[in-house]
């Protein structure tokens, strides 16, 4: 039970934090020079940063950044990747050969290195992060949906639909897509978790949101200069980041068990 209640609770806190950011009178950017690097206290539950801003308020503001980035990147990646992968996988032929080559090239960049490079040349900013991560993210979904379509298009019910003269786009949408949805959902859930870490990582490198906008990654970056005097600057944003990623991963595990998808991780 704990494996499902705990992640849902954390995710509700995450989304709740985003909504609360609008409803509550947060002061993520207000500077209090008298309380620079203040440790956790009753006025600022998680303490204050190097220019006296409340860490808690900034964590709540950062929830929005990570939610916007992770959801939009995953949405773009799933839609673009699945369209390209399934359509080209279904058509086959030269287009398919080219797609496989393109996927190979993208996968030749290890991890988020390509996203780091793209974000570096495009400059910081939330839109550029979304573009950079989406440019890298669609590949995984294209590869997965292509592989799934290749195996499913040989099934009898698809052959029957072809024999009945069903149009290809109808076959894809009504006869194939519902069957490949389960692995895509599982992949997308794990995708959200890795995008949250990627966004934080890019922000940690200074390639993320522009100051003073808050991101958990950039908060950890700011705190890394004050590890000795103000470890709370690093500890709290990281704990929150870890909890959210853990929750999403736990949920992904649950989905995988429920939808009976073969282990690919």
């Amino acid at each position: 039970m704990i494996r499902i209640i705990l992640p849902i609770f954390i995710l509700l806190l995450w989304i709740g934090g985003v909504i609360a950011g609008y409803l509550m009178q947060l002061d993520p950017d207000s500077i209090d020079l008298a309380a620079i690097l203040a440790p956790p206290n009753s006025a600022a539950l998680f303490g204050r940063d190097d220019i006296g801003r409340s860490i808690l308020d900034r964590i709540i503001a950062g929830a929005e950044t990570s939610l916007i980035v992770s959801v939009s990147v995953t949405a773009v990646s799933v839609v673009v990747g699945t369209c390209i992968g399934s359509v080209i996988g279904y058509i086959g032929g030269i287009a398919d050969m080219i797609l496989v080559r393109v996927i190979d090239i993208f996968l030749a960049f290890p991890g988020i290195l390509l996203a780091i490079a793209l974000a570096a040349v495009m400059g910081p900013g939330i839109e550029n992060i979304v573009i950079a991560l989406s440019l890298v993210g669609w590949v995984g979904f294209a590869r997965l949906s292509r592989a799934q379509v290749l195996s499913i298009k040989e099934r009898e019910h698809v052959q029957a639909a072809v024999a009945l003269g069903t149009r290809p786009h109808n076959i894809l949408i009504w006869h194939i897509l519902p069957l490949i949805a389960a692995p895509l959902i599982v992949e997308a859930t794990f995708g959200i978790a890795s995008i949250i870490i990627a966004e934080a990582g890019l922000s940690y490198l200074g390639l993320g949101v522009q100051p003073p906008q808050a991101s958990w990654g950039s908060m950890i970056r700011d705190g890394s200069q004050y590890l000795l005097v103000a470890p709370h600057m690093v500890i709290f944003p990281g704990l929150v980041l870890m909890s959210v990623v853990l929750a999403v991963n736990l949920l992904g595990d649950r989905f995988r068990d429920m939808l009976d998808v073969k282990d690919s991780h």
Partner: protein, 309 residues
Amino acid sequence: MLRYIGIRFSGALFSIVGVACLVFLLIHLIPGDPVEIMLGESAKAADKIALTQKLGLDKSMSEQFVAYVKGVVTLDLGKSFYKNKPIVDLILERYPATIILALVSLVIALLIALPLGAIAATRKNTLADHGAMTFSLLGVSIPNFWMGQIMIIIFALGLGWFPVSGYSGFSSIVLPAITLGTALSAILARMVRSTLLEVLNEDYIRTARAKGLSESKVIYVHALRNALLPIITLVGLQLGTLLAGAVITEKVFSWPGIGLLAVEAIQKRDYPLVQACVLVISITYVGVNVFTDIVYAVIDPRIRRGSRD
């Protein structure tokens, strides 16, 4: 066998060419004038013209591409203007540190993942299994850069056992290698477990048990050795993740590798150096993957006969 190696090599070569093309295009993705961004708005016009010519940005795209390809092939990638040194020299200087870090992390990862995965698989659905899988889940959920900072707070600042950052002898590698290694071991432990679980269902395991071998001999000699085959591939693939993860981890610990060089280059807007770093890391990754595939094929004849792509 030779045919298989040939196919893998040509595939890798194609990937490398594609990677090189993408890396070439990177500098043209910069919104606005790269020279202005690199030098800043207050730069003198003469400096701008000089840099434009140096980067070849005054030439046509095709001429630039030819010059770039020539540079990559002849290993003459130009000069880094913020370090004022040839880029190739800088990379050669930093490359060993990254490789050493990656290898030590890999050893740490295997030392943790193999026993952990074996314990989890043999005691499936017990407390030990759940514990190991919880560790694994935590490991993939903790970002490297945060884990690194926490390690610094505890072991460098708190206990004073290791240096905070930089490179000063053997003790410097401990924290970055543990940071990278534990993250990797989390993924690997899970894979070791699922591979072992599959192998444990095989007939030869039943035979080994039937002839009265001790359980540890069954696991470590019969099961793990067979499970090692797919694990080698996974380790090869993960070594790439390690290389990319090294970019951020090297930054955390100021480890003087190629990842840190890339981050420095990004901060100084030295785009040719950024391109070179990305290119070198990716080519290393492709190389490691090809090497793993070939090792795998040497060990397991089924692969080279079965593979047609």
